[in-house]
């Protein structure tokens, strides 16, 4: 090798070294930069780590909180589960209780229905009892009336006959007295017969209640009666008026109604005012669903302050100076009205007139 070559080689090596040196310098600068960068990054990382530590602490804290919360939730959940179970138990109990109540309700309804029936039955029985009581009171009154009739009306002529027949047996009786006694006997026996016949008539009314009821048109009924007593009406120059527009008909026992009309009309004619022609007004009314018959006259009337309760009594007479009545008519009327389940009342004014009011039970 030559020297030049050697120098060249050295030069080259040198150049290479300088280059390497430069390279190294550059590399060092780069490394310094890189190092700075790393330092910066390190600081950043440390900051980040610190932040992470804080964040971690925070998370730990939050975790603890969450755990605490979870524990609480578990407890709450357990509580809810327990409450739920309780509720279910309660619900089941309520279902049972409800079923029981429904059953009890049905029983109560059944019981109520039974009570309604029992109540109706009691009401019916009560009505029956009231009817029976009224009937018994009426029968009792009738019996009292019969006791009275037997003791007084029947016994009176008998007592007379006992007395008179005893007299007849006396020796040396003056003819005049004998005749008087004979007349007395005749009167008493006739009276006895009369009372027996009256009793028979009265008893017949009680028996005839079974006679079937029928529909009676007042208008036709009244004109039929008017026709049958035409002579009597003409003799008295009487006027009989009627108006049945308010209640035109009634279902009742015809023979009784006939007797009632006949007795009340003949009563009005019998006790007429002598100074003016008799006027009889017959009207029907409908009051509270009940049929009411009114018989009004312009007769001599009757002083009810003395006659009062006796007006309808058997053998009771108030105008003994007048007419031939024996005190049966109004008694029969009252008996017949009552047998048909009605009531009769009287209002009267002396010398003005009398009004009879008959109320039929519908």
């Amino acid at each position: 090798m030559d020297s030049t070559s050697k120098s060249d080689e050295l030069f080259n090596v040198n150049k290479e070294l300088a280059f390497q040196k430069e390279e190294k310098k550059q590399r060092a600068a780069e490394l310094a930069i890189a190092n700075d960068e790393l330092l910066f990054q390190n600081a950043e990382k440390e900051k980040r780590a610190e932040e992470l530590v804080i964040a971690n602490k925070e998370l730990i804290f939050q975790n603890e909180e969450k755990e605490k919360r979870a524990a609480e939730l578990i407890i709450a959940n357990k509580e809810l589960v327990f409450q739920n179970a309780e509720r279910e138990k309660r619900d089941k109990e309520l279902v049972i209780a409800n079923k029981e109540l429904v059953f009890q309700n049905r029983e109560k309804e059944k019981r109520a229905a039974e009570l309604i029936i029992a109540n109706k039955e009691l009401l019916f029985q009560n009505e029956q009892k009231e009817k029976m009581t009224t009937d018994l009171i009426q029968r009792n009154k009738d019996l009292e009336q019969f006791t009275y009739i037997i003791s007084h009306n029947l016994r009176a002529p008998v007592a007379n006959i006992i007395g008179l027949s005893f007299r007849l047996q006396q020796i040396g009786l003056p003819d005049d007295l004998r005749r008087q006694i004979g007349a007395g006997l005749s009167t008493s026996v006739t009276k006895l017969d009369e009372v027996i016949r009256d009793l028979n008539d009265i008893l017949k009314i009680r028996q005839m209640v079974d006679e079937s009821k029928q529909l009676i048109k007042f208008e036709k009924f009244a004109s039929d009666i008017h026709l049958s007593i035409q002579k009597m009406v003409e003799n008295e120059k009487a006027v009989i008026l009627w108006n049945f527009t308010e209640a035109e008909e009634i279902v009742t026992i015809k023979s009784y109604l006939h007797s009632i009309f006949f007795n009340l009309i003949s009563n009005a004619l019998k006790y007429r005012n002598p100074t003016e022609p008799p006027m009889i007004k017959i009207t029907s009314r409908k009051i509270n669903g009940k049929i009411v018959l009114l018989f009004e006259d312009n007769g001599i009337g009757i002083d009810l302050s003395t006659a009062g309760q006796h007006v309808f009594g058997l053998y009771k007479r108030f105008h003994t100076d007048r007419a031939e009545g024996k005190g049966m008519g109004l008694y029969m009327v009252k008996t017949q009205v009552e047998s048909m389940g009605g009531t009769i009342s009287i209002s009267s004014e002396v010398n003005v007139g009398t009004q009879f009011r008959i109320e039929f039970n519908s």
């Binding site: 006791t147 009275y148 007084h152 016994r155 009176a156 008179l164 007479r317 108030f318």
Partner: protein, 127 residues
């Protein structure tokens, strides 16, 4: 002895005839007054002279028109004691009902009850 008078109040003339005969059997010259109408009898008694010395025996029927014997007794009750003391009321009735007898006995204005027909013996019991 006080003078005596019999007053019969009954609407049955046959009874009044018999009563008259029975009274005269017992008291031959008896003073007898009879009323068919109880109202007329009551008028008579109401207007009675208080100074009169006669004792009146009243034979009162129960079953009469207008007033019954009980009605008559009720009206008699209201009269002045000065009049009432002159009268003794006996119920004279055909009734054989004990209730009537009882009622007569219980009535303070009625002395006793007599069952028809009136006889001499019954009149004696009143004297």
């Amino acid at each position: 002895m006080k003078p005596l008078r019999f007053i019969i109040i009954d609407n049955d003339p046959v009874n009044n005839l018999l009563c008259g005969l029975a009274i005269k059997d017992a008291v031959v010259d008896a003073d007898i007054l009879d009323f068919i109408n109880p109202l007329k009898a009551f008028e008579y008694i109401s207007a009675y002279n208080e100074s009169n010395n006669t004792m009146n025996i009243l034979l009162l029927d129960i079953n009469m028109s207008i007033w019954s014997g009980w009605d008559f007794a009720d009206h008699f009750e209201k009269l002045d004691e000065k009049i009432k003391k002159h009268f003794k009321i006996y119920m004279l009735s055909s009734s054989i009902d004990n209730n009537d007898k009882q009622r007569a006995v219980e009535n303070k204005n009625v002395v006793d009850y007599i069952e028809k027909p009136l006889t001499e013996e019954k009149v004696f019991s009143l004297l």
